[in-house]
């Protein structure tokens, strides 16, 4: 499939039928007019053969709709570039890699920052017992992993990382409402730059709504989303460290 042009469209029951299910709420009272508005709205979004299959009042002023529609929009699948970091080494390979290429224990400091109190994600990456049968970084013989927990301010995190001469900072952000994570993540980088330590360590972010793309945009070295395993981030960190050293030396 690769190489040649591969235009794709959603599939309902026939190739390229473009079938899509939608649901949304409109701020209008439930009525035949509301149904028609929902239909027209879906048309505006570019769907055709739009069917408002269900509508229900949510209050005097809002109506909920379920819609099926079809679209002729297509995407060239071959042009899709994945920025996600695909799994590379496993637990043993990472340790060997460090022994061979870095030749010392590396230091990694992690925290869930700001007012965010979700520890489970960063724990999954760092704690001994790990996550879904994948050992956490604390278990890696060649990694010194310090998990500061949650509700850590950016200042505290940087202070600790500098103090320990860390090779990498791991930041977890789970609460994303009103884009609070963007603010928080941006602040960290600005603070590090202000303190002149940004270039001294890798900075990696993670969380269910974090993508590598977003992290790169915000000045991080990488970002990891839902379903990340410890070895994914470990692989990235050690390879990046070696790569950076190669460049700088």
């Amino acid at each position: 499939m690769e190489g040649q042009n591969m235009m794709i469209r959603p599939y309902g029951d026939t190739m390229n039928d473009g079938a899509i299910q939608l649901s949304f709420t409109l701020p209008v009272p439930h009525s035949a007019k509301a149904d028609e508005a929902a239909r027209q709205y879906a048309k505006k979004l570019g769907f055709n053969e739009v069917e408002v299959v269900h509508s229900n009042p949510l209050s005097d002023k809002f109506t909920f709709f379920v819609i099926y529609g079809k679209t002729t929009q297509q995407l060239d699948y071959d042009k899709v570039e994945v920025e996600a970091i695909e799994k590379t080494m496993d637990y043993y390979e990472v340790n060997n890699y460090i022994e061979e290429n870095i030749k010392r224990k590396i230091v990694v400091v992690g925290a869930c920052t700001g007012t965010d109190a979700h520890t489970v994600g960063i724990d999954a990456i760092m704690n001994m017992k790990g996550f879904d049968q994948h050992y956490g970084l604390e278990r890696y013989p060649m990694i010194e992993a310090i998990n500061m927990g949650a509700q850590i301010t950016n200042e505290e995190l940087i202070e600790r990382a500098v103090e320990l001469n860390a090779d990498a900072i791991l930041v977890s952000q789970v609460v994303t409402q009103k884009e609070v994570h963007i603010q928080n993540m941006t602040d960290l980088i600005e603070l590090m730059e202000a303190e002149g330590v940004r270039s001294k360590m890798l900075v990696v972010a993670g969380g269910p709504r974090i993508s590598n793309k977003l992290a790169l945009e915000l000045g991080y070295d990488a970002g990891f989303g839902r379903g990340t395993f410890p070895e994914n981030v470990a692989s990235f960190v050690v390879e990046k460290m070696v790569e950076k050293k190669a460049v700088s030396s």
Binding site: Y11, G12, D13, T14, M15, A19, Q21, E51, V52, V53, H54, N56, V66, Y68
Partner: protein
Amino acid sequence: MMDSKLNLDKSKIKKARQLSKEIAGPVNEYISQHTTVAIERATLRLLGADGVSKDEVPVPNMVINSLGDKIQYGAAKYYINALIRKNVSPQELNELIADGLDISSIDFTDQKLIDQKAEELVEGAAKRIKENVAYRSGKIDQYKEKENSPLLYLIVATGNIFEDVKQAQAAAKQGADIIAVIRTTGQSLLDFVPYGATTEGFGGTYATQENFKIMRKALDEVGEETGKYIRLVNYCSGLCMPEIAAMGALERLDMMLNDSMYGVLFRDINMYRTFVDQKFSRMINAFADITINSGEDNYLTTSDAYEKAYTVTASQFINEQFAYDSGLPAKLMGLGHAFEINPQMENGFLYEMAQAQMAREIFPEAPLKYMPPTKYMTGDIFKGFIMNAMFNFIAKSTNQGILLLGMLTEAIHTPFMQDRFLAVENARYILNSTKDFSNDIEFKKDGIMQTRAQDVLDQTIEFLENINQQGLFDSIENKMFAEVSRPKHGGKGFDGVTEKAKDYFNPVYKYLENELGLK
């Protein structure tokens, strides 16, 4: 394995069975004296007739058309006679017929020769079917532990057999145990079976022997890949009941929708035609070890599931009786019922569970086929999805045998691939999470569920008594089933019914009667 939760009165169950037997009596009398164009075509197919003319008329139909009144003597005789006289193989004869050969007027050869040839041909077909049976049971034994319980039954219905294959294989990978290829709307009213691979159907795909073959192969393939025997289902119902049964037996289908009265009530097919046809079709299914599915769910798409629950139970008894009369053992009786209770009904879940448990206790050996909510499904796919979850719950908790998975888009379109995936996901979650719930609870004595089941059983007996008094034919005319009246001599296909002549000849029928111990 099963202890009673409902505390049903055994003597009442016995009584209902007795009534069904009495009801079936006069019908069986009629059946034994008649044949139909479909029976004759099915017989021809099992003897080797196949193919189509230039105008797409199937060879079996060409034979029947040319026979006219003579079918009272059995079409087999003419076909076999022609084989001998022309000294050709069935394959060659089929081509001759397709090209216009009229076999109705060829002089008869010695009856001995005909009998001999008949035996040879019947043995050939029987061998093929027995091999199918052996293959199937071998595979099922081999892969037994991977099966879901109940078996997960999914439908495909794109109208195009090749799209169906994709959908079916995907469904099997997602965890389906059974794939049913829904037929195109209208096929049940055709008095012939279309030919070849087809790609144009509405709401379903034509049932043709070639389509059966294609799908069988696809399912065997994906079955080997996933380490499972994937069962294939199609529909006998309609004007071609026995013919489709014959094709299914030859192509190793595993289940057939095959109700004794569905065609009459829901497709307006003449009742005499249907009763005569269903018998032979069920004999074929019995011989081919094919599980039949009856269509009691359909009663509840028009009538209220609470009010008319007893019609479902009564129909199950009647279907059982006719199945026994065709040589089907209980283990092949996928008697139907459905979760069509109004979701607005207080304690609806309890009534539904009582009904499902009752079916389980009355028909302990039957692999009951439980149908999902359809009537009260709406465009609210979210609500629909949890109705399906409650349905799956009851199916598991009452040990149903076959679980036809509900689609969250039931009220909207024939299933998208993702709809089917979500259905399997739903079922697997519920089945696994409630695995031993059934064994872990008891129903309160004289509680809502016990009382409900007992009431329905009483109503069923009353209803069966009423039918027995009127006779089944008149009962149907008198609108006693599904709130629809079907005139005895109305409906489609009555002209295809013929009284058998005294020297009616049908070596297949005879063979099956012997094999099934019906004579």
